[in-house]
Symmetry: C2
Subunit: 331 residues, 2 copies
């Protein structure tokens, strides 16, 4: 299969070829692209006969532990880690490696930064930041091809998981024809598509279903079905034993309701500190403008606020602003 | 892009080239593959200057009404429909066109049958049944290429929707590298991947969320989390105003729970008539064997039963059989 090799990857390949001892590390609280990228690059380096340590600030999340090679990712130790080159993957800022990792890797002689986030701070001596790519896994697919390392089943599975999760199963905007071809090529190199996707998407924890149940029981639909909101207080979070990850995407679970134009989640972070997440599905309702009224920010379709007020009070004043914006924009 | 043209498609292409007046129709209660295939083939025939009527026994489901061309699919009228050729797409049996359609099309001079269901009854004069294909949309992609009809945005969107929905967003077993390449090619021909997938997957009806809520509130986990079941009586179905489609896949919503090995739904169809759907996630627990005890049937991992008994009674005796099977197989 023909692929375009981005210029920036050639420098990365040169660094890899001319060094021997590597650390591969992704951002803390790693997602599928972070874990898959770490495994794929780690194994490609091993195949080239390099010494590699795969690290992360945090443990591999349970849902990615099925990936072969994930058990080789260790938690960054306290104290300096010795390596010639640290390759940061899927990580937009040095500090997002995590507090312990930043300290342990502070003396790295050479940092290579491979990422697809547009906001990347280019903290490396060599930076390969390609914001048009759908996933860091896509960049690494190209790098591994450039390095002429055979794509083993372990690498294929890791890259597939990285690309699939970061495109929401090939649904998001950056899913280009090239992404589909790369994923297709990986399927031919040892990915069991049924089993892989079952593990990625069809295994839900009881706790996360209990959080979903809480939302479905507590959500409120108003403004003729155009506004849906849910509020989550500390007591409920405690009862559900919900981690930040468990509640990170709650707004999506109500945003999907047909007819809803604006969705909002009010989450009590600590007593009297409320985080508001807003989503608009209609360009005429700009939630960033609503956020600005409360010193928050974001984009027209996705914005957030942090307010120091009791939950019910914060909720009522933000809801009122949303209602006004809806009526003005949508009649 | 290189594609293999299956031999059976050549006969279909010959029939199309040598006739003028067509009906294109898919199975009743149409899904995404049925609707997308009807639109894609209908538009391809129109592009060749043919007369085409796109029909279906049932209306286009609300969730596919966003597809351009879907408004050209009419409901089969009562009384004979005049056409030289009826092309049935994505339909395994003539009677699955629906009662009215079977009568209206009874006098069709020539029936062409294009499908990917292994169980297809080969009811056509010309049959192109390719069970290895992931979707009828994949077969039509190849047919349209063979006919040298340009893939317009309307056709590209219809084929993409057909393929994406029948592969569960590229997750099911038949998602081959070729499927990924075809979908990639369609993306390059006018599919807005973000908008398309938002419409396909990210718009959920309030009613279907209310059904999900009912399941989450009523499901029971037992046998150390290995068995999860839910039962749905007539009163609840009535209160939720749930259609057969709304409750068709309920077993999947509990099957996904991590740790669950067997999931079962008990649905009261009419007073004293219970339909049981069982899914196993562990090859050691064969739910078809459990179904056989109650004169039901199916496969090792997916089976069903119909019992004439009051709901609670039917449930208790099937659950007891499942518990025994779980303990025997899993210890």
């Amino acid at each position: 299969m023909m692929i375009d090799i981005p210029e920036a990857l050639v420098s990365v390949a040169d660094v890899i070829r001319s060094h021997e001892r590597f650390v591969v590390i992704a951002h803390f609280r790693p997602d599928g692209d972070a874990i898959g990228s770490t495994i794929a690059l780690g194994h490609a380096l091993q195949a080239m006969g390099k010494q590699v340590r795969m690290l992360n600030e945090d443990p591999v999340p349970e849902r990615y532990a099925f990936l072969q090679g994930s058990d080789e990712i260790g938690r960054t130790p306290r104290g300096p880690v010795d390596a010639e080159v640290v390759i940061s993957v899927d990580n937009g800022a040095w500090k997002r490696l995590g507090d312990r990792s930043v300290v342990s890797l502070a003396n790295a002689p050479l940092v290579v930064n491979i990422d697809h986030h547009g906001s990347n701070e280019c903290f490396g001596a060599v930076n390969c930041v390609l914001p048009d790519e759908a996933a860091t896994g896509c960049i690494l697919y190209k790098l591994i091809r450039l390095l002429e390392v055979p794509i083993t089943p372990v690498i294929a599975n890791a890259l597939y998981a990285a690309i699939s999760t970061d495109t929401g199963s090939f649904q998001y905007e950056k899913t280009t024809p090239e992404v589909m071809r790369m994923a297709g090529d990986l399927l031919s190199k040892g990915v069991n598509v049924m089993e892989m996707n079952r593990m990625l998407y069809q295994e839900v924890s009881w706790k996360s279903l209990m959080v979903t149940r809480e939302v479905l029981n507590g959500m409120v639909l108003e403004e003729d079905g155009r506004l849906c909101w849910f509020s989550l207080d500390l007591e409920t979070k405690g009862r559900l034993n919900a981690s930040p990850d468990d509640v990170a995407d709650l707004v999506d679970s109500i945003r999907v309701i047909r007819g809803v134009k604006v969705a909002a989640i009010f989450e009590e972070m600590e007593p009297g500190v409320i985080r508001v997440s807003m989503r608009s599905k209609d360009a005429r309702v700009n939630v960033a403008k609503i956020a600005e009224e409360f010193h928050g920010g974001g984009h027209a379709l996705a914005a957030g606020i942090r307010i120091r007020r009791p939950l019910a009070e914060a909720r009522e004043c933000v809801l009122q602003a949303i209602r006004v914006a809806c009526r003005k924009a949508l009649g």
